[in-house]
Structure formats: C-alpha cells, structure tokens
C-alpha cells in the first residue's frame, strides 16, 4: 500500500511478536529453576542456573534420545517419500492424459476431508495383523504419501512445466521416467522443498496416531512428552526443561527455513 505505517502499526505488531515469543521464554524460565521454585508458581523473571540439571532429569525419566531419533527418522522418511510420490502422482495429474484422470483427481481432493479418527481403528487392527504394532513402521507407512501432497504438487506442476517441453522430449524418444527425472524434478524443486518442510513439521508434531501405535519404550518425541507430563507428582521444572529441549529441533529448522515457510504459506493453500 502507498501509505507509510505509523507507530500504532509497529506498536501493535511488536505486541503480537512479544506474545508469540513469551511462551518460549516462560517454558525456558520455569525449566531453569529448581523444582521447589517452579512449584511456587511465578519464578524470578531471570533464568535460574538449573536448566541442564533439569534437562538431565527429564532425559532419565523418558527415553529422550530414542524419541528424538524416532521422530527424526519418521519425519524425514515420510517427508521425503511424500515429496517423491507426490511429485510422480502430481505430474501425472497435471500433464499426462489418461482414462479417468479428472474423476481420480476429484477423488483425491475429496479424501482430504477424511479425518484421522476414521482411520485409527482399522489401522490398528491392520498393524496388529502385520505385526508392526509398536514399531516405527506403523507410524511411517500410513503417511508415505498424502492427498494434500499429490494435490499440492499437481497445482504447482500445471504451470511450472511447459507442455511443449514434454512433447519435444517425447518426440526425441525420451521415456516417461527420464522426463520425470530430467524435466519435471528440476522444475518441481521449489514446491518440493516447501512440501518437504511442511510434511516434516506436521509429522514431527503429530500425536494422536503415534500415541495409539507406539509403546512407552519406543515413542516419538510427542509421545515421550506425554509420558513426561503424566507423572503423578508434577515437577514443572523437569517437564518444561524437557519440553523446551524437545522444541529446539523445529526451532532450528524454523530459523534456517523460515523464509521458505512464509513464502510457502503465502503462495498456496498450505494447511498442515
């Protein structure tokens, strides 16, 4: 807009940013004081020196590193496979002619409204039959590719890859899979990066299905935090030190890729 914003706009925005950041500080603050001080409620507003102690106690309470490892594996595998399989399917829907294409695409879009809750009972029964219950497979396999991933890549590839280029490649005798590798994949890269990031974050923060599928000794980080919280006597210094620690990986990812995340949300209908 042509108008220059005044102090009011900056003041309001600063207040919002403060509100966004404050819970991070609160979490770290309580996590850095002793259990006694944290139990009293509001601690001094300067951090105490006990964060490392509290974090160590949290790690003894839950299988912290195992949980982080599981979350890294599950999120990386599902994000990568969603991008690869979503690009393949998205390319087919965007550029290839085949029987039933439009009907199938409409079907893909419609499936985005089906909630996870509707899938958990059959998935649980299926995973028991396969003997995967309790393993990370039970969390990975259902998320290998999503309707959203297919649709997102399709929307991007419709405009990103010129039809003439594909035609030309076909006439030169290029096979479909080489077209995907040499033409589609490079063109898809910006959208693929965004899809990867959002899938990674969505998987990392997912809770309902991992809680059902995974046992206490083989959790993802969200399931482990749930265990940490469920102690009979609640020690907030320990719980919040663990929570702060568990938030750091995504915080680092955010610092590194925040620009792409913002661009991704603003470019398309991204909703994790």
């Amino acid at each position: 807009m042509t108008r220059r914003p005044g102090f009011l706009v900056y003041g309001l925005l600063a207040a919002v940013v403060l509100g966004s950041a404050a819970p991070f500080y609160w979490s770290f603050l309580l996590g850095s004081h002793t259990a006694e001080i944290a139990a009293q409620g509001v601690p001094p507003f300067r951090p105490g020196g006990h964060f490392v102690d509290n974090a160590k106690r949290a790690m003894d309470t839950i299988p912290f590193w195992k949980a982080v490892g599981n979350s890294v594996i599950v999120s990386t595998v599902t994000a990568t496979s969603t991008v690869v399989l979503g690009t393949l399917a998205g390319y087919s829907f965007a550029k290839l002619r085949f029987r039933g294409r439009n009907a199938l695409l409409a079907f893909v879009v419609a499936t985005m409204a089906v909630p996870t809750q509707l899938a958990v009972v059959p998935l649980f029964i299926l995973m028991s039959k396969l003997g995967w219950t309790g393993t990370t497979w039970s969390v990975i396999v259902p998320s290998l590719v999503t309707a959203f991933g297919v649709f997102f890549m399709r929307q991007y590839l419709v405009d990103a890859v010129p039809d003439e280029l594909i035609e030309a490649a076909r006439i030169d005798g290029c096979s479909q899979i080489r077209i995907v590798w040499h033409i589609v994949a490079p063109a898809a890269r910006p959208a693929a990066a965004i899809l990867w990031l959002f899938t990674f974050m969505a998987t990392w923060t997912d809770f309902f299905w991992p809680l059902i599928a995974l046992p206490p000794d083989n959790p993802t980080i969200q399931v482990a935090l749930n265990q940490l919280q469920s102690g009979f006597f609640k020690d907030y210094s320990l719980v919040l030190a663990g929570t702060t620690l568990a938030t750091i990986p995504l915080l680092v990812l955010f610092v590194l890729t925040g620009r792409q995340l913002v661009a991704g949300i603003m470019q398309g209908a991204v909703k994790g």
Binding site: M1, R3, R4, V9, L13, V16, V17, G19, S20, A21, P23, W26, S27, G41, V42, L85, G86, A89, S92, F93, L96, F98, V108, A113, V114, Q117, L118, A119, V120, V121, P122, L123, I125, L144, A147, E167, R170, I171, S175, Q176, V180, M201, T205, F207, F208, L211, I212, L225, Q229, V239, T243, A246, T247, L250, L253, F254, V262, I265, M266, Q267
Partner: protein, 340 residues
Amino acid sequence: MSQPIPDGAQTRGGRDASSLPPRAPGPRGGRAARNLTWRQRLSHADARWSPYLYISPFFLVFGLVGLFPLAYTAYVSLHDWSLLGGKGEFVGLQNYREVWDNPYFLKQTVNTLSIFVLSSGPQIVMAVVLAALLDNRLRGATWWRMSILLPYVVSPVAVAIIFGSVFGDRYGLLNQGLEAIGLDGIGWHTDRLASHVAIATMVNWRWTGFNALIFLAAMQTVPRDLYESASLDGAGRVRQFISITLPMIRPTMIFVVITSTIGGLQIFAEPRLFDETNARNGGADRQFGTITMLIYDFGWQLRDLGRASATAWMLFLLILVLAVVNLMLVRRIGSLGGGR
C-alpha cells in the same frame, strides 16, 4: 491385444515404417523392423501405463489409510469388537445407540463445539486484523512475517504443557497475577467454560499467525487502485477495509474456515495434555473432554473398538455437517460486507 495408439506416436511410427525397405509378408520381418516394433510397443506402453504407475503409490497408501478404513470402520462399528479379543457378534446399530445414550457423548460433543467456536471465531478475526497490519509498507516485512509464524513450530503437545502451567489453578502465572491485584483466581481446569477458554487460547496462539499469512497473501492480490479511488471518494481506512478488503478476501475466508472446521473438531492433544487427573479423559467430570478423546477412551482404555468406530463415524458426520453450515455462514457474512 490391440492398443489404441497415441497420436504423436502413430505419425512417428508411420513415417519410420515408410522409410524402411519393403517387408516380406508374414510375421517374420527384417531384424530392423522387428526391433523397431518392439521399441515402438515399449514406447506406447510407456506412454499408456506410466501415468497409472505414477499415481499408484498414492492410491495404494490411500487405500490403506483412507478408503479401506472408511469402510472397515463402518464394518467394525456394526460388531462387538474388543481390542484384544477381536471381532465378536454382529450387533447392528447397537454401538451407535450405546454411544448416543452415553451421557459423555453429548457432553463431549458440546465441549468440542464450544472449544471450536472459542478458538476459530476470535482466531479468524485476529488473523484478519494482523494481516491488515502486515499489509502495509513495513520496514523488515519478512522479519515481521517470520516472527508471527514462530508459534507454529511448537507442537500441540508442547503448547498444552506450556500453557498448562500458565493456566495452573493454584500456582499458574495467570492466577497469581489475578491474586496479586486482589482478584480471585479462576478454576482454569475445574470450571467448564474457563477450561474451554484456556484450550482455545492454545489453539489461537499456535494458528493465528499462520492464518494471518494466508489472509495477507489474499490481501496483496487486491488491486491497489481500488483503494486509491475509494480514498478519492472520501472513504476512510476502516470503510475501505470493510467495503473493499473483506469482500475481496472472501474466498480465502471460506478456505480458512473450512480447514479450521476440519482441524478444530478433531482436537485431541491440547485437552489431553491440559488434563492433570490420572484418567486423562478431559478433567474429573470430563468438563473439557472432546469427541476424539472419547474415541481414544472407548478404543484404547475401555478396549471396545466397536464403540470407538461408531464414535469416529459420528464425528465424521458432524464435521461434514458443520463444514457445510460454516460454508453457508461465511457466504452470508461475506455478502453482507457489500460487493458481490
């Protein structure tokens, strides 16, 4: 098998074939011709089957986690089905009746709706206002945009733990603040409405910035000369916002409302982690238990997959109904703002 041949390939094949020396009749042509046919066939098969090959992984996974569950959940919901013992007798709609008659079903449905209204309503208003603030020529625009997205990186589980301590009944930050200025603390965990407000606050904190960016993107597509001519006609900033901006971002509004309906009605992590009782069903009297928590309770605490499935189907129907109702509501509101 005779295959329909794609146009491009047919012309190519025809031209190539005509450049060959005349072939002897019969199945055995020259070596070159046979090679070509084989290659041609491969090329046709490639063009014909590749699309199906590429979309098949999605449909395989979708069949596994989408289509099969949709039907199978319905199938399970019509049987006695224990978590450990497996399938029992066919009972028709009895599971649905039992869920319907369970006093917690109505209570937890109301809770879910209440938390949903308290979160999505204020959240969308705040997000639109925030987007309007960001839709200025700001210094460090990217920095501001990133900053408001910060809460999105905190998982719902972590958000619930952190806010749980802020909303603590006895020693929480808020109640200590209230008591410091001489007011009574609020029973954030025990009072039904207060607990809904606390949980809605968590949802709002995490999603407002995210939705503001979606609205901001929509606002930036509004042609700037509309504002200029409006201000020449003497319209103030508020008037411009109501008469130009709001109607122009209506499609985005519909999108955000629909997605937050689908997501909001499934709420689980926040109320579960907010609960400090041992059963963790949403408070001692389930004052903030939700439908998804009821599914979990039926299936994995009471070990009755039949009732869990019935509840899941009822949740799905509720989501569909509410999505349609909200769609109509937003259309209505959008058209009241003037414009189309």
